[in-house]
């Protein structure tokens, strides 16, 4: 257990020391809020769907957590290349402890980043219901663990960063855009409807909207169940992949 703690702590220290990347990671959510949020706001209102910032903010927070977590998970590739992974592999701890430590570290970092973006959405005019904030944090936590584990599972299979654009454009981006983060997922064309319902992050976005007191599509229990079970599956796949890594 102490091994998981020190791996988690390492991740956190590395995060806090990279001040520029903390600020840098806020850029994209701010652009989304300003350009898309205020840009599409009038159209959204005219369509009778209400305040767009109110709708978009949870989606932007999930985006931040999703991107940050996956990237932290993918950092395992760097640990491979810079040899640090070897140091942990010859230590008297199990591979699953290493994976769990990394995953929890990445998730924590992502949640901090997500909370920062949450504060920015408040400035932009987001007015959530705050009584159920713990529930919102629970949804964020699940989204963070899921994406961090996903990043780690992918990183276990890769030896260098060359596959990175492929992962970003064909996995991370679709997971975000097809999650209902920027548009409502009711009354969609059939193919899109199926894609959004199969995407576990749709349940994260929807759950977070529910927790903030906004309009939601799925039952929060369904969202919790989907997130928990997909997280467990991805973590198991990650452990399996990690056990096979040879350095």
């Amino acid at each position: 257990m102490i091994a998981i703690y020190i791996l988690w702590l390492r991740q956190l220290k590395r995060f806090i020391r990279k001040k520029t990347s903390i600020v840098g990671a806020l850029g994209q959510p701010i652009i989304f809020l300003v350009a898309i949020g205020f840009g599409f706001g009038p159209v959204f209102a005219r369509a009778g769907a209400g305040n767009y910032i109110q709708f978009l903010a949870p989606g932007i927070i999930v985006m931040t957590v999703l991107f940050t977590s996956i990237f932290t998970g993918l950092e395992i590739i760097w640990d491979k290349q810079f040899g640090f992974l070897k140091e942990t592999f010859v230590a008297p701890i199990s591979r699953w402890e290493i994976l769990l430590g990394k995953t929890l570290g990445g998730a924590t970092v992502a949640i901090i980043q997500g909370v920062l973006v949450f504060l920015i959405t408040l400035i932009a005019g987001f007015r959530p219901q705050l009584a159920t904030l713990p529930l919102a944090l629970l949804f964020l936590f699940l989204v963070a663990i899921l994406s961090s584990a996903l990043g780690a599972a992918i990183a276990a299979r890769l030896d260098d960063m060359q596959g990175f654009p492929l992962i970003f454009n064909f996995l991370v981006q679709p997971l975000f855009y097809l999650s209902g983060a920027i548009f409502p997922i009711q009354n969609l064309p059939k193919a899109l409807d199926i894609a959004t319902k199969l995407n576990p992050f749709s349940y994260g976005v929807d759950g977070l909207r529910y927790a903030f007191g906004g309009a939601h599509v799925f039952s929060p229990w369904l969202s919790l169940a989907v997130l928990c079970s997909v997280t467990i599956i991805i973590l198991s796949v990650g452990v399996y992949q990690f056990n096979k890594v040879q350095l």
């Binding site: 091994a3 590395r14 491979k80 810079f82 350095l247």
Partner: protein
């Protein structure tokens, strides 16, 4: 009982045999040099001895532990300095040491003192709070050696520990290592391409090529068996004059090359 007992050890990658049925022992407290040209199977053997690779066949006992059956006990018994650097550049020297201590389950009051002692030994104590990314190659190596010793291992593996270092630093590093071997009775198992380092340090030598042990013995025994004047001549006469291509896993070799370029 010998500290390392290797019996019929074999490692195959697909149809390529990197290590081919080797057997040898290393005595407790010995300084043992494991030599061979590039791609001879040195690093593959070390990876099997240090639980990073599973042997295809054969048996290894390290400090009495079956390496494949009891990886965790084995890992407590050895320390290793890898061929490529393996420090976290974003952490300080002290934090790298602390990370290692906690991974190996050392208690705080134990490791605090031990870290101070070891950092003093490798003359890095005054830099303990500097980030490793600001260290020179020699300082990183010294830190890695100190880190490898933190959990009081019985064996210290050093895979080309002086690669890319200037003669001054190399001298220093070998002086520390000799000192450690004497003071803490740590068995030293090292590889290098510098024959003068072997002549200075090694009590026993094994030469491996094409995955097989060609010869084993003291420096004198090897020189007389090869009927040459120096160890370097003996090495070349035994392993041939051809330059070796590194075989094995292509992706891994690319990573090794990248790592060397990044140092």
């Amino acid at each position: 009982m010998d500290i390392i007992e290797i019996k019929n050890l074999t490692k195959k990658f697909g149809d390529f045999t990197a290590v081919d049925d080797i057997s040898f022992n290393v005595k407790r407290g010995e300084i043992f040099a494991f030599l061979g040209p590039n791609g001879a199977g040195k690093t593959t053997t070390i990876k099997m001895l240090t639980t990073l690779l599973k042997p295809t066949a054969g048996n290894i006992l390290l400090d009495g532990h079956q390496v494949t059956d009891n990886p965790h006990q084995t890992r407590q018994s050895f320390g290793i300095v890898f061929q490529d650097p393996s420090l976290d550049n974003e952490l300080t020297a002290y934090e790298n040491m602390q990370f290692h201590a906690i991974l190996y389950g050392l208690k705080k009051d134990v490791y605090q003192k031990r870290i101070v002692d070891l950092l003093n030994l490798v003359e890095l104590y005054d830099r303990k709070d500097s980030f490793v990314k600001n260290f020179s190659g020699g300082m990183k190596r010294r830190l890695e050696i100190a880190r490898g010793l933190l959990h009081n291992p019985k064996v210290l593996f050093l895979d080309e520990p002086t690669i890319g270092l200037d003669p001054q630093t190399r001298n220093h590093i070998w002086a520390y290592i000799k000192n450690l071997n004497k003071q803490e009775n740590v068995t030293i198992f090292f590889t290098t391409h510098h024959m003068e380092e072997v002549e200075r340090m090694a009590e026993k030598i094994a030469i491996i090529d094409h995955g097989k042990i060609l010869i084993m013995g003291t420096i004198q025994e090897i020189i007389s068996a090869a009927k040459t004047k120096t160890l370097e001549e003996a090495f070349i006469s035994l392993t041939g004059k051809n330059i070796r291509e590194e075989a094995g896993n292509a992706g891994q070799n690319q990573m090794r090359i990248n790592n060397k370029l990044m140092r």
